[in-house]
């Protein structure tokens, strides 16, 4: 028997393993890469079809000629109103509820019930939320068809997700930090304020911001509770709506343009979709940037 030339001469078995490694990597990698294709196709298709309308004027102008021409300003500003107002409701409630559930709640039937409620609320279809908003806010609370009813409906819809993402961020702060605080006689609140919140706020904010895209994209809840087909608004007016007004919204506008209005200039629905998608991507990018920035300053 001759000695091998080197300790590291590749055997047949080693070669087979190496080949498997390469094949496996390519299979997994190509599946991951496949994710890019639909996104590029959607964005590319939309932009090509929308191209004739993609001007700043389209964003700032109001719909004209029975919605068949002009821009989308009232819908754009309406969506911004709805999104921010809904988060103004759901972010504080959701964050405080999550702090309670993660930091204070003992394991008893009451808190298990709350947890169950949160999980199930997250699974309720948006059309059911819409119906609930109609009954609860429009009729029972007598807010009528209004921005405030629609925002509250969206808030209820985003609440469970905000609670879940906030709890996850809170749980990422190691328990040993809390125990160290308790050992020196800190109350739960002193612990939360000094150590837990400052070190989870980045994740909490990211979770909240990501809900912007969900609130902006939903059609059914706003359609049932406060969004209208058309609302006369000044071109480029930043404060066109009162809270008790009905408003236009991008998602609903896209729906009506595509299905309800005959003779719409072909590029307009596509351009509306581009604005909706662009705003959402912009906000998501902001969230990811914020998270990356705050992570880079991680303290342990």
């Amino acid at each position: 028997m001759t000695a091998p030339a080197s300790n590291f001469t590749e055997t047949a078995r080693g070669r087979r393993k190496r080949r498997q490694e390469v094949i496996a990597k390519w299979i997994f990698g190509s599946m991951a890469a496949a994710m890019i294709v639909p996104l590029l196709l959607i964005v590319g298709y939309l932009i090509v079809r929308a191209a004739p309308s993609l001007k700043l004027e389209f964003l700032l102008d109001i719909p004209r000629k029975g919605m068949t021409a002009g821009g989308i300003w009232p819908a754009f500003i309406g969506t911004i109103y709805l999104v921010f107002l809904s988060l103004a409701f759901s972010a504080p409630v959701g964050i405080l509820a999550a702090v309670y559930l993660n930091e204070y709640a003992k394991d008893n039937w009451f808190n298990r019930l709350i947890n169950l409620a949160v999980i199930n609320l997250a699974g309720v279809p948006s059309i059911v939320h819409a119906l609930f908003g109609l009954g609860a806010f429009v009729y029972a609370a007598r807010f009528g068809y209004s921005i405030i009813s629609a925002s509250l409906t969206l808030a209820i819809m985003t609440l469970p997700v905000i609670i879940a993402s906030t709890r996850e961020s809170l749980a990422s702060v190691p328990r040993s930090f809390r125990e160290a605080c308790w050992n020196v006689g800190a109350t739960r609140w002193q612990t939360i304020r000094a150590v837990v919140l400052p070190n989870s706020i980045s994740g909490i904010l990211t979770g909240v911001i990501l809900q912007v895209s969900r609130a902006a994209g939903e059609t059914a809840p706003v359609m049932f509770t406060g969004a209208v087909f058309f609302k006369a608004v000044q071109r480029g007016d930043l404060l066109p709506y009162a809270l008790t007004d009905q408003c236009m919204a991008l998602s609903m506008h896209l729906y009506t343009l595509s299905t309800q209005v005959p003779g719409v200039q072909e590029s307009i629905p596509y351009a509306t979709a581009v604005v909706l998608l662009g705003s959402v991507l912009l906000v998501n990018t902001a969230a990811i940037t914020l998270r990356a920035y705050l992570r880079s300053r991680k303290k342990w």
Partner: protein, 265 residues
């Protein structure tokens, strides 16, 4: 054995007893882990607690400052008297915790500046004056033998210190609320021998001003430092006596003899 010990403890003047533990039982859910132990902690002594893992050492410490209550499903019975007062009935559990300094096995630098790590507990207690805080921070860091290494960078993060430095920071934090009793739970498992010896010297000095409970896996550490030692095994005190007795040729229990010589089990 327990009866004899209790009798001996009762013979001492009452002022000498800092903490009196009687028939302490602790159960996690239905599983009892401490089975009715009793002992006295004397003022200004170093009490060594030795015993293998899972014997209930850490749980015992957590009963003393009532942080055991943060673990769901625990039941504590029996009595613990701190300066004669039943801790289960105290109105101010946060004040109680500040009277007991607690150092955990793994160093925990809070994600705050070095200064804020030490100033945290006094602030929680309501102290606000900058000069008061400054002097507490300096004094505690000096006591923990860390001052010289960090005095020029007190605003750096405590979490970015080395392991040994963080453990001394943890000790400084435990001293920052001016406790009467300092409990160290295997403080040396994450640090090197040189730092360990430095901290042991610190402890010898601290005993002038406070009572120390030293829980340790290093039996020799208890031998070096403790006045009295007990051997806790499976939630029961196997033997409690002067350190020389526990580590001597003739401890009362065969298991003690075996354990301290590393031939246990």
């Amino acid at each position: 054995m327990v009866t004899a010990m209790t009798a001996a403890a009762n013979a001492l003047p009452p002022a000498d007893v800092h903490i009196e533990v009687r028939d302490l039982r602790l159960a996690y859910d239905a599983r009892e882990v401490i089975h009715g132990i009793s002992f006295d902690l004397h003022r200004h002594e170093i009490l060594g607690v030795i015993g293998p893992a899972q014997s209930g050492k850490t749980s015992l410490l957590r009963c003393l400052n009532r942080t055991i209550e943060f673990t769901p499903g625990t039941q504590v019975s029996g009595s613990i008297r701190f300066n004669g007062e039943d801790i289960a009935r105290t109105d101010d559990v946060f004040g109680l915790r500040r009277k007991i300094g607690m150092v955990a096995p793994l160093p925990v630098g809070l994600p705050l500046s070095i200064y804020d790590n030490v100033a945290f507990a006094p602030r929680c207690a309501g102290l606000k004056g900058k000069s008061d805080l400054d002097s507490i921070v300096e004094q505690c860091l000096r006591q923990a033998a860390l001052w010289d290494e960090v005095k020029d960078r007190l605003d750096n993060l405590g979490t970015k210190l080395s392991g040994g430095q963080q453990q001394r920071l943890t000790i400084a934090r435990a001293l920052s609320h001016q406790p009467e009793i300092l409990c160290l739970d295997e403080f040396s498992i994450a640090i090197d021998p040189v730092t360990t010896m430095r901290i042991e010297d610190v402890l010898k000095e601290l005993r002038q001003s406070m009572t120390i409970v030293l829980v340790t896996n290093l039996t020799q550490q208890a031998r070096r430092l403790a006045d009295r030692t007990f051997f806790l095994w499976s939630g029961e005190i196997v033997e409690f006596g002067p350190t020389e007795q526990i580590f001597g040729e003739k401890p009362k229990d065969r298991r003690t003899y075996d354990y301290v010589r590393g031939i246990f089990g």
